[in-house]
Point group: C2
């Protein structure tokens, strides 16, 4: 079990979820940690977002309280008061300032938090704090996830080793250009605060913002990173080798978690890496990758293990990007199925079908126009997606 100096973890079953599963988690740093956050861009924001985002602008956080089973979204003023009440209960039990608490919720929208359950459970949370309890927290934040998601990396700065440990939840409502789900990253590295926020933004851009399961985005998404400096390293700052290493490790952890989320996409059976090259500019590259990665018809063909490149080239064509059909090449892994806009014939398609039978593969698209490139990770669209989402809540 990965541990991070100065961080302890706890989880309980507060009874928010009727199943009796773990549904309440706590991440605690022995001393206030420098922090950075990325929050949902949805204009309908849940109470925990409204409470936590302003606190993060202060730059310090010592505890993260998170529940599943109830999103505390669309709950108005009473919902805000509930979120603040939870954070105060936790601060009191830990003996820290309330403004050092981040609150986070995920689950059903529009229902008040079951405050009697939380009033009872929150003060008891700290009893269970332990350095190796991160997997319980990862479990407590799951909703439709079929497994918990943890990733870590080791780095060093000034010969002092440090750890970057991340947990995430998410399987549906995953969509780019958002914080996209819940993820919490703990590190004992000492990191300059502005650089921490900058590194987080870049890491999210190269991980959670290039995955898509469906195109919906939540009212509650947040990615938080806490850096408590317990590694005693010289402060990591921008534009240095140590800064580059930290930023790379942070992005690796987030990309690990992001890919786990796509693999665990609601009902997903495949992880597909959509890579676009040869675009006229970066915006075009992104548009094409996005268009292909989010097409229901393309995603359903992946599920059907059908090398239906016609749907892919149609998605390229309606992406809005500059396109010359006669220059488009498409490959499944390294099997070319389209060259210069034309199919390569039934033999190649048979080879491509074998590629699609794998659990993970790449769709490589070369537009043949320029140098820009972009990538996305997506899943297939399956019966199970419908089942999960038609039945959720009931």
């Amino acid at each position: 079990m990965t541990t991070v100096k100065g961080f302890t973890f706890a989880a309980r079953s507060a009874g928010i979820r009727k199943s009796g599963r773990l549904d309440l988690g706590l991440i605690f740093s022995a001393k206030p940690a420098r922090c950075a956050g990325v929050f949902t861009t949805n204009k309908v924001q849940a109470a925990p977002i409204l409470v936590t985002a302003p606190r993060f602008s202060g730059g310090l956080c010592q505890a993260v309280l998170v529940n599943s089973g109830n999103a505390n979204a669309c709950t108005g003023e009473p919902g805000l008061r509930d979120a603040e009440h939870c954070s105060r209960l936790l601060a009191d039990s830990l003996g820290i300032d309330e403004t050092l608490v981040a609150v986070s919720s995920t689950g059903v929208i529009g229902q008040p938090l079951p405050m009697p359950l939380l009033v009872e459970a929150i003060p008891k949370l700290s009893e269970g704090l332990s350095g190796d309890g991160v997997s319980d927290v990862a479990t407590a934040i799951m909703t439709t996830d079929s497994y918990s998601k943890i990733s870590s990396r080791e780095g060093s700065a000034g010969q002092k080793p440090y750890t970057v440990l991340g947990v995430a939840k998410g399987a549906g409502m995953i969509h780019p250009n958002m914080a996209t789900m819940l993820a919490f990253v703990m590190t004992d590295a000492c990191v300059e605060r502005e650089f921490l926020q900058q590194a987080l933004r870049r890491a999210v851009a190269g991980s959670f913002n290039i995955i898509t399961v469906d195109r919906d985005t939540s009212t509650n998404d947040m990615v938080l990173v806490l850096a408590n400096g317990e590694a005693q390293n010289p402060e990591i700052v921008a534009n240095t080798p140590a800064g580059q290493e930290f930023a790379a490790l942070l992005q690796e952890v987030l990309l690990d978690l992001a890919k786990m989320i796509v693999r665990d996409g609601e009902g997903a059976t495949k992880l597909v890496h959509v890579q676009v090259r040869g675009a006229a500019d970066a915006a075009d590259a992104r548009q094409v990758a996005y268009s292909v990665a989010t097409s229901n018809l393309v995603k359903t063909a992946f599920f059907g293990e059908d090398a239906n490149w016609g749907r892919i080239i149609a998605a390229v064509g309606y992406s809005g990007a500059q396109v010359d059909p006669s220059r488009i090449d498409i490959l499944f892994d390294d099997v070319p199925v389209v060259q210069g806009g034309l199919g390569t014939g039934p033999e190649r398609e048979a080879e491509a079908t074998a590629v699609l039978k794998q659990a993970e593969f790449a769709v490589n698209i070369n537009l043949g126009l320029g140098e820009a490139q972009a990538e996305y990770y997506t899943s297939d669209l399956t019966y199970e997606y419908i089942k999960i989402n038609a039945d959720y809540r009931t």
Copy 2:
């Protein structure tokens, strides 16, 4: 069976589809008709689009040749030559100029047209021409459609009665801001040519461009209208009562067909009318309607008959439109489930669930900010959609 003066119809089984179904159709006007067209905005355009669109700028058309089973898309120069060859064969058999022929195809992308079959079938098509054969043409153009789509209206100009008769195909790859599928409209009215094009553009904006089944758009979509003037009415022009009547009837026919397409959406069991009011401006209203109507999570909740307004308000929030959560009202038909951004409670939700059990219902969203409104028609997202699209082609 609706007939239109001066128009005859024929259909055959050319053997393009292995099932032996009707797969080749002909619409013929006794004399050249004024014509207008709207074509796919996909940058990857099929050969029939590339052949027909320039001909339509000439303003006259006498025959429409359409096949299902093969889209003649992504077929390069040979595909263009095939489309032209088909149009020449038809022109010869009808004794008309080749430039008066529109060609149209729908089906699988990337396969050459089976020319030997078409060379044999096309010259025989005209033998079957009949004034009441429109339903055979409507059947011949079906692909994953589960029923054929025909609508008509009667109007008059200068006391001369005329008919507007439309046929369409489409059940998947239906998406707004495109011609979206195949539709052919025949009228015996005499209509000024520029006005005909203008009326068609507006009618498409108020019908095919406000429906969505999935978000994919095809390389082959076209909507054509042919007006042969056989009703002997005084020419219908813009900014007159007769012009308004004609434009309204044309839009009614297209909206009828558009709704049939949504009802027949691949796997769809529900037709849902998304109505947005109170937006700050028209673009915002459209964005919100679009965002809700295209959300996979919302569409899956419709299938589950789950009054899950949380997903709707989340889709409103991420639409990009100006939104004040505390002013949002949401109703299923006339049952309020959200007032001022807050849920109205379990009793109302139970009433709303009854609304969702209907085959057709409305989602009414009031943003409470301004006067602008917009609407969309959408379907639910079901197991059957996955089945149809994972298995199509195999």
